[in-house]
Symmetry: C2
Subunit: 129 residues, 2 copies
DNA sequence: ATGAGGGTTCCAGTCAGGGGAAGGTCAAGG
DNA sequence: CCTTGACCTTCCCCTGACTGGAACCCTCAT
């Protein structure tokens, strides 16, 4: 398979696939003309990476997850720990965003949103709150 | 005031303050020795920027907000719209993170997390789910 | 032979700064 | 007078995970 086929079958942009090769996540062979030549296992890895990235794992997490996946003698505890740490980071981000949302939402509610200049949002930002 | 004073009074790192000057958000004067020389208004602007950034506004949003703040004849509707758009982006991010959280949380719950290799997390990532 | 539609490499940019080097300035202490 | 240490300056590279684009090569059909 050429990169275009792999791209459409995996859903990942060709640029991303080249980048993944660049950083050593996949190692496709090369055809005589210099084109990348992907096997089914490469496609499978890319799909794996796509799903892990969609769950928000960092590239380095993905590297670890792939290594665990390929290690038949892994302990599921290692996978679970990685996932739990990632889950904790997600929760932290949600909490941060939720705090922003609550504060900003309240300010928005207090703002008349008309043609007059008085604005509680600007007032709060300027520290007059 | 030198940059160190402004940094401790605004809570922003000196690096950040220099960066904000670089991109034209503030324009401190210079002393004879070349040091930046901040007035109270600069400090006020930096505090404004710090609060806006803490609410997750982008730098470009901050630029707009500052311009609105300094425009005495602004309409609060403009501020409100900007804030509402930002609020919508925050909500989108929260929803994305929440979806990741739910999916990953379920997988984590299903994983025994012991010394055996069987792992529903890896199974899901590999597409066997 | 030429054009379209693949592929390749490499360089630069994104966002919002952070890290650190090389060097200038200032006040206090010996 | 010299030095030390704390401060300041500019400059350039680094981050994550790509994305865009230039310049060029390969293959096939017209």
């Amino acid at each position: 398979m050429n990169i275009g086929d792999v791209s459409s079958r995996s859903g990942l942009p060709a640029k991303t696939i080249r980048y993944y090769e660049d950083i050593g996540l996949i190692k496709p062979h090369r055809s005589a003309n210099g084109y990348r030549c992907f096997a089914e296992t490469d496609l499978h890895k890319l799909a794996f990476l796509g799903r892990a990235r969609a769950l928000g794992f960092t590239i380095e997490d993905c590297r670890t997850l792939m290594a665990l996946y390929e290690d038949e003698s892994r302990a599921s505890a290692d996978v679970k720990q990685l996932a739990q740490e990632h889950l904790a980071k997600i929760e932290e981000k949600i909490a941060d965003l939720q705090a922003m949302h609550d504060t900003l939402g309240e300010l928005v509610n207090c703002c008349a949103g008309d043609s007059r200049p008085d604005c509680p949002i600007l007032k709060d930002l300027s520290g007059e709150g």
